[in-house]
């Protein structure tokens, strides 16, 4: 990598990007940049793209820079302490964007990727359903052929950014007579099309960082298919891999309310650092946080040395979620009985973050699913017995089912 790139990145950031402020309320999913107005984010992304810092590893013909992961890493390191107002584009670029790059047609890549990179069109990901979470392949949203086109019906959930997205990458069942993994296709759906309804989803913190999305006879054009018909699971696996890497290697800012630095400052402010128990917990949090950072660094070094992390991205995802949960418990220890009741407004961010912490062990593949992946693909253990793998989907029991008067079966 040319040191020139790093120097250029550093200079551009210093001149154009806002520094992170401490105490940002980041309890809502993603970076605090999402709080910035959408128009401001779009303007910033266009500037970023024009300066040559968007799509660093993407090919030039699709609007990228055609550089290597070395430059990407240099960019991540240089931008870590800046609060880039680009939160609205994070999901689109890291998941649907990378998936289109791998699985899309030439026409799709030329049509969608450059506008995605410049922030002109925002994308979301539509996988989870009320009846299909960890078992995504049991999804029930259907796309039925009608001539060259398809007609889409169903409901998606946990969709970040759906309220301002222009397009979504959606998984729908195209052949219910096949076993569940074999009858799924991935499509590009126009989020402004008639029949698309987006509703905010309120979570435990009281915030609404996600949406529910309803599809009612939404028409999909012939060229909306990503990859092959009924081979959508292959594209989904590609996207889920990008999701894990994006989440697993996301460096959590030092200013997050549950970061060691923040909790240490909080403990000092509350006069709790003379308590040996609190000191030990903070020291342990530092140790665990360092290990998660260092492991992510090691994965990046291995990638640069030609050994991509593969399924070990799941180790990073699992470790990050567990760190969040541990940090939440340390924060509660630091707060003592103030977690139960407080009147200082500045404690709001940390208490919200404590409530939000368990969410990261569910979002983007639960910790249980990550453990399956680690067990099977890193350690090479036998796959789950998977009794439903060969059964046609229309004969499977899926979702939450009750038998009246008999309790759950």
């Amino acid at each position: 990598m040319s040191e020139d790139f790093r120097a250029r990145a550093r200079a551009w950031l210093a001149a154009n990007a806002p520094r992170r402020a401490s105490g940002d309320d980041e309890a809502e999913a993603g970076s605090s940049g999402q709080a910035a107005a959408l128009a401001e984010q779009k303007a910033f992304q266009a500037k970023l793209c024009d300066a040559g810092f968007a799509g660093i590893t993407w090919p030039k013909e699709y609007g990228g820079q055609g550089l290597t992961s070395a430059e990407q890493i240099a960019w991540s390191q240089e931008s870590r302490d800046y609060d880039l107002p680009t939160g609205a584009f994070f999901i689109g670029l890291s998941m649907p964007g990378n998936t289109l790059l791998e699985c899309g047609t030439e026409q799709q890549k030329k049509r969608y990727l450059p506008k995605m990179l410049r922030g002109e069109e925002i994308w979301c990901q539509l996988f989870s359903e009320p009846g299909a979470g960890s078992d995504v392949a049991s999804l029930q949203t259907s796309a039925v052929r009608d001539g060259d086109e398809w007609v889409l019906n169903g409901q998606k959930v946990w969709t970040s950014g759906a309220q301002y997205s222009d397009y979504g990458a959606i998984l729908a069942r195209t052949d219910p007579t096949q076993p569940k993994h074999n009858g799924i296709s991935m499509f590009i759906v126009d989020m402004h099309a008639p029949g698309v309804t987006v509703r905010p989803l309120k979570v435990a913190t009281g915030h609404s960082p996600f949406n529910e999305v309803f599809f009612d006879n939404v028409r999909l054009a012939a060229d909306a298919l990503i990859g092959q018909e009924n081979k959508g699971w292959d594209a989904a696996v590609v996207m889920l891999r990008h999701e894990r890497i994006a989440i697993g290697t996301m460096s959590s800012p030092r200013t997050s309310p549950l970061a060691y630095e923040s909790l240490r400052a909080l403990a000092a402010g509350l006069g709790r650092t003379s308590d040996q128990g609190v000191r030990r917990r903070l020291a342990e949090l530092y140790a665990r946080g360092r290990a998660v950072q260092l492991f992510a660094l090691m994965l990046r070094e291995e990638t640069m040395a030609g050994r991509p992390p593969g399924a070990r991205g799941s180790v990073a995802k699992l470790a990050g979620s567990e760190l969040g949960r541990f940090a939440g418990s340390v924060a509660a220890d630091v707060l003592g009985d103030q977690i139960a009741g407080f009147d200082a407004a500045e404690l709001r961010a940390v208490t919200t973050a404590i409530i939000a912490a368990p969410g990261s062990a569910i979002a983007g593949g639960t910790s249980e699913i990550q453990r399956n992946i680690i067990g099977e693909r890193v350690l090479g253990l036998a796959k789950d017995p998977g009794v439903d793998r060969a059964t046609p989907f229309n004969q499977l029991r899926v979702g939450t089912q009750r038998t009246e008067g008999k309790g759950p079966r």
Partner: protein, 363 residues
């Protein structure tokens, strides 16, 4: 600074691994258990004369290889994986203390012999509450020591012991030779079969006070002890992980390899996760030791704190996931279980380490 191993380090790891497989596999630990010997002196000769392990981190001017702490860590990972019994840890810590002191005569006399593996040295750090040693002047720069220290690594086999003594103006370090009158070494019942530990009793025992900043030397030794024990634990924990994963693939119950069941699979996944995190922390500590000394104390503490718990836990899980066979004397799981318990507390247990890290971080 890069965390991943360099080509030289990979080559060193490979040669130590082959040596261990050939000369000191786990079965040889069982021979030591039946013979009661603390370690195999032939293996020790080869480890030192052939592989130069005792002198890896000793500078060339004192007869070592000057290869640094990262190289030492890489070697200790491989030795730890096979629970190789040897006086290496005590020698390495004693050498570090000598290097940090300003006693030219002691350095010139002792370091080359330690590097060659001809002299067994150890650091008699008091850890049990109530242990203490007092010094009385005996003229000629000599002192006499009285008191008791336990547990001392290879205390019964050491040719020389470095004994820290609390003084009015901070600690001092005294050199005691094995033949000194009034020195009694009693081997302890070590829970870990791969360690030889002793209580050292001193009754007006002749010693020589070494020149130099003892507090700084002891703190350097504590950092190195953390790095060394974390290194051994990374190797041993990986051995547990490999052994248990392999078993989960071949042991069948209810018509499935047991690794197919999430109750087993998820525990192994957690073990893999903890190992990866501990290993990353260890690599950081090893690099800091060579390249960023100001960060070494905290980095080594981080590695030790994480691995003390992670390895001890993994070793118990190794027993559990093997089921009945894992609880037998013939199975290797208990050897790691005991090593994990012992590594966790030697030279400063978890609470002490967290307090130290908190101090280091300025909390």
């Amino acid at each position: 600074m890069t965390l991943i191993l360099t080509d030289d380090e990979l080559a060193l790891a490979d040669s130590v691994r082959r040596f261990v497989a050939d000369r000191s596999p786990l079965t040889s630990l069982r021979q030591l258990i039946s013979s009661g010997e603390p370690y195999d002196t032939d293996v020790w000769k080869q480890m030192t004369a052939q592989l130069g392990l005792a002198g890896l981190a000793i500078p060339e001017e004192y007869g070592g290889a000057g290869a640094g702490l990262s190289a030492l860590s890489v070697a200790l990972v491989e030795l730890g994986a096979s629970l190789v019994a040897s006086p290496l840890l005590g020698c390495v810590l004693a050498a570090e203390v000598l290097l940090r002191l300003d006693d030219a005569a002691a350095k010139r006399e002792l370091l080359p012999q330690i590097a060659e593996g001809e002299l067994i040295a150890t650091l008699a750090l008091a850890s049990s509450a109530g242990d203490h040693v007092t010094a009385a002047g005996a003229g000629d720069g000599g002192v006499t020591l009285t008191g008791s220290v336990s547990p001392v690594l290879n205390g019964a086999e050491a040719d020389v012991l470095l004994v820290p003594v609390a003084g009015d103006a901070g600690p001092v370090i005294c050199l005691v030779r094995a033949d000194a009158a009034g020195l009694t070494r009693t081997r302890l019942t070590a829970i870990d079969h791969s360690r030889s530990l002793a209580r050292v009793d001193l009754a007006a025992t002749q010693a020589r006070q070494l020149a130099g900043d003892a507090a700084a030397a002891l703190s350097a030794a504590a950092n190195l002890a953390n790095l060394a024990l974390a290194s051994e634990s990374v190797g041993a924990m990986k051995a547990c992980l490999d052994m248990t994963s392999a078993y989960a693939k071949i042991r069948v119950a209810f018509g499935q390899p047991i690794g197919a069941f999430q109750a087993v699979k998820h525990r192994l996944a957690d073990m893999e996760k903890s190992w990866e995190l501990g290993n990353a922390a260890l690599r950081d500590a090893a690099r800091a030791g060579d390249e960023e000394p100001a960060r070494f104390a905290a980095a080594a503490s981080v590695a030790r704190v994480l691995l003390a718990d992670a390895y001890a836990e993994a070793a118990v899980d190794t027993v559990q996931l093997h089921g009945g066979i894992g609880f037998t004397w013939e199975h290797d799981a208990h050897l790691y279980f005991k090593n994990g318990l012992s590594n966790k507390v030697l030279l400063g247990g978890p609470g002490e380490q967290l307090d130290r890290l908190a101090d280091e971080l300025g909390i």
